[in-house]
Amino acid sequence: MFSDYRGEMKDFALVIPVPEVLTREQINVGDKALIERVDAFSAPRLVEYFDSDPCEPPMVYSMRSMGAPDGALAKSGPASSKSLGVTIEAQYTVGEYDILILGAKESSGLEKWLTENGYKLPKGASKALEPYIKQKLKFFVAKVNLAEQVKSGFQYLRPIQFAYESPKFMLPIRLGMVNSEGPQDMLIYAITKKGRVETTNYRTVKLPTGMDLPLYVKNKFADFYRAMFEVSHHKENKKVVFLEYAWNMGWCDPCAADPLTDEELRKLGVFWMTSPFNPKFPKVRPGIVPPMQPQPEAYITRLHVKYDAEHFPEDLFFQETADTENFQGRYVLRHPWLKEAKCEAGKKYFKELKSRRIKEAETLAQLTQWKMEEITKEMGKEPSPTSDEKTPTKETWYQNIFK
């Protein structure tokens, strides 16, 4: 779990319901780079294709891809409450965090205990804590140990990992809504043995994918992704979870980043892989890592959800399905052929190029709700082939001489 907490380190605290009292071995402070790796590997991506000479049918294409910048990660927690009915089940310092595992009998007791122990609790915390207490969950409470934080030398808070067994495949999101200002963005990377993960109590919807977009999106991919996500989110009445990536972790096509190595997967918690798979990924073409045999037993699902109290009344519940169909958020840039092409096919090609440009602009407008005028302005003038059948009047040598 990694959160993009902004504020003073000393003010940071998080409370997460957990199904059991976690021992010290079940908790770890992880490496931010690992999460960035998974994020980069699974991020929506751009692919560029270069049109070939329409007069020479055999296709040769080169391709590059790049990952989208990560969306806002995970969530921050609230804090606080004490007195009757609260038991400190365990207490550890792990890395820069002071961690308590609390058991509670009553939500008001827990709220009081936390407040008295210096946690600032937002209004309504007690009401949000109650369902978890009644379901006999424990509370994992962490705050930053400033001395340890200075020793660690990190300028940011590292992700917290915990490992436990439970038939309850869910994420308690309701608690985090108490102190959030507006909707929160969360990315969930689920790595499983079998196949795709989906929510069982909210619709999981595939992110729009596979569209041809104007070339200039390359320089504004982050803006594009954010705008498109926002539009899709509104279109689905803010009530769905988006699927952004679903793929075996052994390969990718196109790759937004190289697949994760054995070691990286293990550190992320993939404990079940017995036979290490070859971490040297053969590349046939730049940007592609082909599937290898046997494929590693690690399938990643990337879910993106933007949630608030009104549209997500219940925590997220998941199930692992047997679906191994590949899915990725992938957007295509097609570079036109701009050299001479005088054959019939060439003429047809240039004609189609015009309508293709319009279509790309329309797609972009539809996905992002950016204004058509802005898009056409950004797209610039229609590039013309370097020498076209209607060759522009030949420049004379003296034309520019006295300017």
């Binding site: 939500s107 009401k127 109650e130 369902p131 009644k134 379901q135 038939p167 309850k168 495949f169 079998k194 989906e198 929510t199 069982t200 109590n201 909210y202 619709r203 999981t204 919807v205 595939k206 689905e236 009445n237 009530k239 769905v240 009344p313 219940e314 519940f317 199930q319 399905t321 047997a322 679906d323 191994t324 169909e325």
Partner: protein, 291 residues
């Protein structure tokens, strides 16, 4: 008119809308595999047991129900699921009555046995389901011929449990309404547990049965955290049907267009969930012929 036509119309349009607007990942090939497999087994049974051709309607209902719920990447499993559904009607019988709902039987068996099969309960989405609940209740109210007391009593019990749980946990009541947002719950209530052929014959028996299913489903969902609770609960409890029928004996249900042999089983009916005018007419005619 045979109420099965309404069911087919409802299921087919619901499935069609789902495929078009909700990306159910059901394509033409899946539909073909399931229908062909189910109809083939049913046709075989028609010849073997000299059944009425109208029984094909039931096979279509079973196939459509299956298509809406079952998800798998394997066409073999789809064909198997469909065949199993229909076969279960002829294999698991007690005193001439099958006690598993065909769709429920094959779904549960495959969910329990094969890791390749799953159900996506949330794929319908809220807006879609509100429409479907209304349409379904509308059909039930206007066409009393559909035996619907099981649906009502099951929903009564199950929703009461959900409501009590939400109140006990102190969750906002929107959670309760959110929990209705399940395609499985809707299909289950109106097309599986309500199956007039496999549920107990007597109304008291059906109420008892639906209460038991609601309790077990609640337990599986909230104690074992299995999202397929409804399907599994009905599967495990269906074998109790013959026992409940013994406890509360009553007339056997028949579809209004069933074939002769089945009608003769039914005999003079004073049972008002059936279609007295139609079946009496048939019985009369058959009796006359025999005499």
């Amino acid at each position: 008119m045979d109420p099965r036509f309404y069911q087919i119309a409802f299921l087919a349009s619901f499935l069609g809308l789902g495929i078009v607007f909700r990306d159910f990942s059901v394509g033409f090939s899946q539909i073909l595999v399931v229908l062909v497999s189910a109809l083939a087994v049913q046709v075989f049974a028609i010849f073997k047991y000299r059944l009425a051709w109208a029984s094909l309607r039931s096979a279509i209902i079973s196939s459509l129900g299956l298509l809406m719920l079952i998800r798998t990447q394997s066409f073999k499993l789809l064909a198997l699921a469909s065949a199993l559904a229909i076969l279960s009607k002829f294999v698991f019988r007690f005193r001439g009555k099958h006690f598993f709902n065909p769709t429920n039987f094959s779904l549960a068996i495959l969910l329990l046995v094969s890791p390749e099969v799953w159900i996506s309960p949330a794929q319908w989405g809220e807006e879609f389901l509100i429409g479907a609940w209304i349409a379904m209740l509308g059909i039930l109210v206007t066409h009393k011929s559909l035996r619907n007391d099981v649906s009502y009593s099951f929903l009564g019990f199950y929703l009461m449990f959900l409501w009590l749980r939400v109140s006990y946990l102190g969750q906002p009541h929107s959670v309760f309404f959110h929990q209705l947002n399940s395609g499985s719950l809707l299909l289950f209530s109106f097309f599986m547990i309500s199956d007039p052929k496999s549920t107990p014959d007597h109304r008291y028996g059906r109420i008892l049965f639906s209460g038991l299913v609601a309790v077990v489903a609640y337990w599986i969902k909230f104690k074992l955290y299995n999202p397929n609770a409804l399907v599994l609960a009905l599967f495990f409890l269906s074998p109790l049907t013959p026992l409940i029928d013994k406890l509360f004996p009553s007339e056997r249900f028949e579809w209004p267009t069933s074939n002769r042999r089945e009608i003769i089983h039914a005999t003079s009916s004073n049972f008002h969930f059936k279609f007295p005018s139609v079946s009496n007419f048939w019985v009369l005619r058959i009796l006359r012929r025999q005499s």
